[in-house]
Amino acid sequence: MPSVVRARERAEIAARNPVVLQAESLTKSYGQVLAAADVSFEVHAGSLTGVVGPNGAGKTTVLSMVSGLNRPTSGRISVRDIDVWGDGPAAKRVIGSLPDRLRLFDRLTGGQLLYYAGVLQGLDQKTVAGRAAELATAFGLESALDRPVSDYSAGMQKKIGLACSMIHAPEVLVLDEPYETIDPVSASNVTEILEKYVAGGGSVVMSSHSLDLIQRICDHVVVIVDGSVVARGTVDEVRDGVSLEERFKHLTRSDDEGKGLEWLRGSSDSD
């Protein structure tokens, strides 16, 4: 069964599940610039929710506010009824996060990094050792565990980061661009892991600018444009009969983009 079919089926089930993550009017302003304005959405248990938007729309800002790395100017975010910005340590036990473009402790080896992440989350040594080995196998990193993370390729760094975010068996995964730089074979492997995780009752919020990917594997979607939510719901509700990409173009009013530029014809002006 292709993942898109599983995603459609999951949408109906997940929509009936209780809400595990709730963002209420999250706002973040940097001086005059409004990076996120009144962002509200919710994630149900067992759901794979995608956050999409054009470059610079504020996806990273929103996700880092959700995972407790970026303090919102106003608004509230709660996971399993724990306020992330009220009781951080408790909430962070429930959340696993993978920020985009932040460096890992890359002078540690992969094995050390996994162990480090697990112990920081309060796991005991035996549990960490077992889970680290299993995660490494699942992500195909067994042979790289003894090498420093700084020697990893970008895709492998992404994968070890993903493994670190999962080691404490969180209830919600907040992943910023988890598929970026990962090769197609590994990507389907990651999809498999994430689907297994949500089938077990976990929830995932992930951002991506690949609409195709979101449409294929996510059941719910939140569309953010210029820091505000312009559409949210199950993937089928949002795309409304057309492909997500068509719908997205309409929502972002980017139909006109790419016009102009008539001078860009591929023939040099100097002729």
């Binding site: 790395l69 932040l102 460096r103 890992l104 890359d106 050390q112 040594q125």
Partner: protein, 523 residues
């Protein structure tokens, strides 16, 4: 069995000189240095303590130190000894293995070194010729005892302590060594400084009754004409030797009939280097990671290399200005320790790579603070102990050691505590991880000067009270004032370090997301 093991030992000795020209040369060089050290160890008392009585006391003291280290070092350092267990499958009895291993230990480098030392002693002490019988007995007992000590200690450790506990043992050993060193230096310098002093005589009197000093003490007594006393000490040593041989026999028997307990399932932390040696708790893994980074990141090495230069410049300047050289000796160590503690005042920015990981996992600020101090403490604390004893040796008055130690300890702890607060409070752009240590940070300005000046000023300010107390005690070298200075310095330092970690931790807890944001803009 005995002959076979002797052949094995010979082959092991010869193997040091195999492996190409360079390896052979290196082995030869090491051998020459070792022989020189053995002769030097025998010759030093004659040079340092010209009086016959003092020299005899120093001889007993040094012999005791040597035997004690032969007994204790194998407990802490995992040496490449042969093990009884390796011969368990051979067709012989445990008693045979034990006897063969004991006797063949004659052909090991440490025993050969011991023989060189004893030969040098005999040559350098003409007065011993008159009591040849005592010399022979003492030498034989020393030799047999040292082999017995080494065998029993290493077998005991291998049998009793699991592999994973060995690193902990090594730490304890290093700590013991660091504490024993100043004591040894005291007693010796006291002996050399004031001929006929009681300290050394008392120490050797006590050591003579221990199984470490007994053979040498017997010889010294025989030299004085006290045959009765000499025989008592020799008897004591022989008794201990018998006891050790019995223990050795039992250890061998136990060792060849038991196997090592296999590691429990799932606890396979091997291959995580330093992380294997620290408990699995947030503060300790942060410490292990910090230490790993100090080892792998060239930026830290440059900092460490730069620190000793500051006091050199200061000393030269003050010396030219005509300061008292004895007092100048007190200066370098506190300055080095202050700089060492202060060097981590921008640690959060310096080590910004993945502070988000601490924040995203809800790590407590105080754990982050305390863990990051581990490298400074691991370098600083031994430096305090060893450096303080060196300082008082140069100053020339060991009575002020407690005050000097109190001062140095407080300076280290205070500056580390202040750094803990400042690295969370005022991070400023630093050379990025992975860049060359001499690279300028990408973002300039913004508070670097202020944070550096302020943190240094605060560290100096809080160092003043314990330093004043210690300076007072150094001026008045009574035992009470010195003891008070040590206790006061340590207590003041500990309280401030604790406060620094606590306050720094609170700042970290409250402003963690902002710290992530600030350090990211530096990147």
């Amino acid at each position: 069995m005995v002959a076979r093991l002797f052949r094995l030992r010979l082959a092991l000795l010869a193997s040091a000189f195999r492996g190409g020209f360079r390896a052979t040369m290196r082995a030869l060089l090491v051998a020459v240095v070792a022989i020189a050290a053995a002769v030097g160890y025998a010759w030093a008392p004659a040079w340092l303590a010209p009086g016959a009585e003092d020299r005899a006391a120093v001889d007993v003291f040094l012999a005791s130190v040597l035997l004690a280290s032969i007994a204790l070092v194998p407990l802490f350092a995992h040496l490449g000894n042969l093990e009884p267990r390796q011969f368990a499958s051979l067709p012989t009895t445990p008693a045979g293995i034990g006897a063969a291993m004991y006797l063949s230990s004659l052909l090991t480098w440490p025993t050969l070194w011991l023989l060189v030392w004893m030969a040098a002693l005999y040559v350098l002490r003409p007065e011993w010729r008159g009591v040849a019988w005592a010399v022979a007995v003492a030498a034989l007992l020393t030799l047999l005892l040292s082999i017995a000590y080494a065998r029993v200690s290493s077998a005991f450790v291998k049998l009793v302590v699991p592999k994973r506990g060995l690193s902990v043992l090594r730490w304890i050993g290093a700590l013991l060594l660091f504490t024993a060193l100043p004591v040894i230096v005291f007693i010796l310098t006291e002996g050399f400084r004031s001929p006929g002093s009681r300290t050394l005589a008392d120490a050797t009197e006590v050591l003579g009754w221990t199984p470490f000093g007994a053979p040498a003490a017997g010889l010294a007594l025989a030299l004085q004409g006290d045959a009765q006393g000499a025989l008592t000490r020799f008897a004591l040593a022989a008794g201990v030797l018998l006891l050790l041989l019995v223990i050795w026999h039992l250890l061998v028997a136990r060792s060849v009939t038991s196997v090592e307990r296999p590691a429990p399932d799932g606890v396979t932390r091997d291959g995580l280097e330093l992380f294997d040696r620290f408990p699995a708790r947030p503060r300790d893994v942060i410490a292990a990671r910090s230490l790993t980074y100090w080892r792998r990141d060239p930026r830290y090495r440059v900092t460490l290399l730069a620190i000793p230069f500051a006091p050199v410049v200061m000393i030269v300047a003050l010396w030219v200005a005509g300061a008292d050289p004895g007092m100048l000796a007190l200066l370098p160590l506190p300055v080095i320790l202050l700089l060492l503690g202060w060097s981590v005042h921008n640690e959060v920015a310096f080590d910004s790579t993945a502070i988000w990981m601490h924040v995203a996992s809800g790590t407590r600020g105080s754990h982050d603070r305390a863990g990051r101090l581990a490298p400074v403490m691991l370098i600083g604390l031994p430096l305090v102990v060893v450096g303080s004893s060196l300082t008082v040796t140069v100053v020339g008055d060991w009575r002020v050691l407690p005050a000097v130690m109190g001062m140095n300890l407080s300076v280290l702890l205070v500056s580390a505590g202040v750094s803990s607060v400042f690295s969370a409070l005022m991070p400023y752009p630093a050379t990025r991880p992975g860049d060359s240590p001499f690279h300028q940070p990408a973002v300039q300005g913004s508070g670097a000067g202020l944070a550096q000046t302020l943190s240094m000023l605060v560290a100096l300010l809080f160092s003043i009270p314990p330093v004043l107390v210690s300076v007072g005690a150094i001026g008045d070298p009574q035992f009470e004032t010195n003891a008070i200075a040590l206790v006061a310095g340590a207590a003041w330092g500990l309280v401030l370090l604790w406060l620094g970690v606590l306050i720094g931790g609170k700042i970290f807890d409250r402003g963690a997301p902002e710290l992530v944001a600030v350090t990211q803009t530096f990147d």
